[in-house]
């Protein structure tokens, strides 16, 4: 594997990932990550060909950890989550490569029936718009209890009692009276709480939250974030939190992966990423947000737009919009490498993180 070319690059990626895993647990070398995604490639059929919406995505999630995946629309953050859940729409999309290790198994290799046993039980997901994921003709009590009778084989009475406990835990006011209410009788924030109760019913080890607060008002968003943080601590579960909002990331994440055009361009612990954004995209993105807590002197603008899925350029996918572009950027694909002085901070950039040292290792 020492020869040049793509395989060596892949190997390099995995190697640096291992280091990240080790540094993230800090001394608990024996603790295996709860989830390890390796070189994930998910493709979609568009315009007669298969194109990668997610390419070479690798990361780990530790127990009790919140990993935020941040990026703009179309960057592949939701597709990554759907790939983990085995919910990539068949026919038009497929996981074309890579492994997703969870609980000692590779989820990519599992068939639908086995996946169904894991989904909603050991891994759950909540979505942006709770109204479209709740069944409008079933009471919320029934919907929360459903997962319990399916996965836990509970009788009706027992499932209902547990469901009520869950609704109280997510702080639905007068949960007992509202147990038999329908989704339309709840406000957006309350529906999201119901979704969270459903997702947590079986005490999952991993929760995927895909823009769970994006449709909510800021005060309600703050409440839901608080609730998620509290429940995460109480349940000891890991969370992948997908959002486009870097403010929300700063509030909830332990580590952050920034995605651009289907690739992770930077991954680092939250304080490190905000203190020292190193990929030009991450840095510009942070400087293009008008802040509420201070005057923003000048907004950075990222000129142009994300390349289309069927027309990805060779080399760095951000190169066309990048103010630091060098000739190499449009010639060869950059790889995700750790920074020399911060082994848990990985950057995919020829200019800011030249992989010289990493390649020799």
């Amino acid at each position: 594997m020492s020869s040049a070319g793509p395989p060596a690059l892949d190997n390099e990626g995995t190697r640096s990932l291992g280091r990240a895993a080790r540094s993230a647990v800090r001394g608990e070398h024996t603790t295996a990550p709860i989830l390890a995604v390796e070189n994930l490639v998910t493709t979609f059929r568009t315009g007669g060909g298969w194109h990668a919406a997610v390419r070479d995505v690798s990361f780990v999630v530790q127990h009790n950890e919140t990993l935020a995946i941040v990026g703009e629309s179309g960057c592949g953050k939701s597709v990554t989550a759907l790939s983990i859940m085995g919910l990539v729409p068949p026919g038009n999309g497929r996981v074309a490569g890579g492994q997703i290790h969870f609980g000692g198994r590779d989820l990519v290799a599992l068939d639908e029936e086995e996946m169904r046993k894991i989904r909603g039980d050991r891994i759950s997901m909540i979505f942006q718009e709770p109204m479209t994921s709740l069944n409008p003709v079933l009471t919320i009590g029934f919907q929360v209890a459903e997962a319990l009778s399916y996965h836990r084989d509970m009788g009706r009475r027992e499932a209902a009692a547990t469901a009520l406990e869950l609704l109280e835990q997510v702080k639905i006011p007068s949960a007992r009276q509202r147990f038999d209410d329908y989704p339309h009788q709840f406000s957006g924030g309350m529906r999201q709480r119901v979704m969270i109760a459903m997702a947590l019913a079986c005490r999952p080890e991993l929760l995927l939250a895909d823009e769970p607060t994006t449709a909510l008002d800021v005060t309600i968003q703050a409440e839901v974030l608080a609730l998620l943080a509290e429940l995460k601590a109480a349940y000891g579960m890991a969370m992948i939190f997908i959002t486009h909002n870097l403010g929300v990331v700063a509030s909830i994440a332990d580590r952050v992966a920034a995605m651009y055009a289907g690739e992770i361009v930077e991954i680092a612990p939250v304080n490190e990423l905000f203190a020292r954004p190193t990929h030009p995209y991450t840095e510009l993105l942070l400087r293009s947000i008008p802040r509420v807590d201070r005057d923003t002197a000048g907004l950075s603008v990222i000129a142009g737009q994300v390349p289309a899925i069927g027309a990805m350029p060779t080399g760095c996918r951000f190169a066309q919009r990048c103010p630091l572009r060098q000739p190499i950027c449009t010639e060869r694909d950059p790889i995700l490498v750790p920074l020399p002085d911060a082994p848990d901070h990985h950057v995919r950039c020829w200019v800011r993180a030249a992989p010289g040292e990493g390649r020799r290792a």
Partner: protein, 325 residues
């Protein structure tokens, strides 16, 4: 102090809607319950608040796109509410609007060129050739290529469509633009592009803005003054950044503190969990905010606080800041 271009006084709009299933009941949504504000020459005036507070209705009623039930709107000395149809047509040239979702406001079967030229033709501003000339100039001004003229809305990305929406709002050389969540549907990097474009236009054309947004960061960046709305009423007005530094109304403070900041040192984790948030259908008695207010006093449950104008800029409706306590 610059002169006011638009003065709104006691604007009111109630909607009567049918709600409920299977048995419907008729309810009154008090979308605007008597709001007053003024927009000064060349300034961007922010209207902020959460969904259902009436900020969009305020923007639309301000242009009489929605007929207000009561109140007065004066644009440069002329009463917009009582203006005749013919007069309103002239006024509408001066008062234009940009929407959140430009795709929904563009005819999908009409080329961009035609969409830009039509308002000029309707208002008889110029001949065919000159209209086209102007349309091209507008496209250039908002940063779109000439070739956009012959293309259809679906061929553009969200950010480009918003540029088209902006170009169209400028066709009649307006003096005041209502921008209703103009960047809310856009990605962060595109949002910055559009904000800078709007800022450039504001400087170059001396435009006044009513800038409606739920994003306090964007309002802080773009506006000079703002009003905070809650359930159909303005609860506080003030100059930026003073109102952010020292919010007087507890709701303004709550909004500010709940707005996430891209800095892990300032996490927005509020542990106070509330029940259902009241709506404009059935606003709480007294001060509408008393059900969520951390400083609620007995009087707040009974009496709506009077408006108190502290100085030229700052005003607040809150019993904590009443002149005679």
């Amino acid at each position: 102090m610059p002169e006011s271009v638009l003065t709104v006084t006691g604007l009111r709009k109630f909607f009567v809607v049918k709600r409920g299933f299977p048995r419907t009941r008729t309810v009154t949504v008090r979308a605007l319950d008597g709001i007053s504000f003024d927009v000064r020459d060349g300034e961007a005036f922010g209207l902020v608040g959460e969904s259902g507070c009436g900020k969009s209705t305020a923007g639309r009623a301000g242009l009489r796109l929605i007929e207000p039930d009561a109140g007065e709107i004066v644009f440069k000395g002329e009463n917009v509410v009582t203006a005749s149809k013919a007069r309103l047509r002239v006024l509408r040239r001066k008062l234009q609007i940009i929407f959140q979702d430009p795709y929904a406001s563009l005819n999908p079967r009409r080329r961009i060129g035609k969409a830009l030229i039509e308002p000029m033709r309707v208002h008889g501003i110029a001949g065919e050739a000159e209209c086209e000339e102007r349309a091209r100039a507008l496209l250039a001004e908002v940063g779109l290529p000439d070739t956009a003229m012959t293309r259809y809305p679906h061929e553009f990305s969200g950010g480009q469509r918003q540029r088209i929406g902006i170009a169209r709002s400028l066709t009649l050389e307006p003096e005041l633009l209502v921008a209703d969540e103009p960047v809310s549907a856009l990605d962060v990097s595109i949002q910055a592009q559009i904000l800078l474009l709007l800022q450039r236009l504001q400087e170059r054309r001396g435009l006044a803005f009513i800038f409606i947004s739920h994003d306090l960061g964007v309002v802080r960046y773009f506006c000079q003054r703002m009003a905070v709305m809650y359930l159909g009423r303005i609860v506080e007005t003030g100059a930026i950044p003073a109102i952010f530094k020292e919010p007087l109304h507890p709701y303004t403070r709550m909004l500010r503190d709940a707005s996430p900041v891209p800095d892990p040192q300032f996490k927005v984790i509020m542990m106070r969990i509330e029940g259902e948030v009241p709506s404009a259908v059935d606003p709480p008695s007294g001060c509408h905010f008393h059900t969520r207010c951390p400083h609620v006093m007995p009087i707040c449950r009974e009496v709506y606080p009077e408006w108190r104008q502290m100085d030229d800029e700052r005003g607040v409706a809150c019993h904590l800041h009443a002149s005679t306590r």
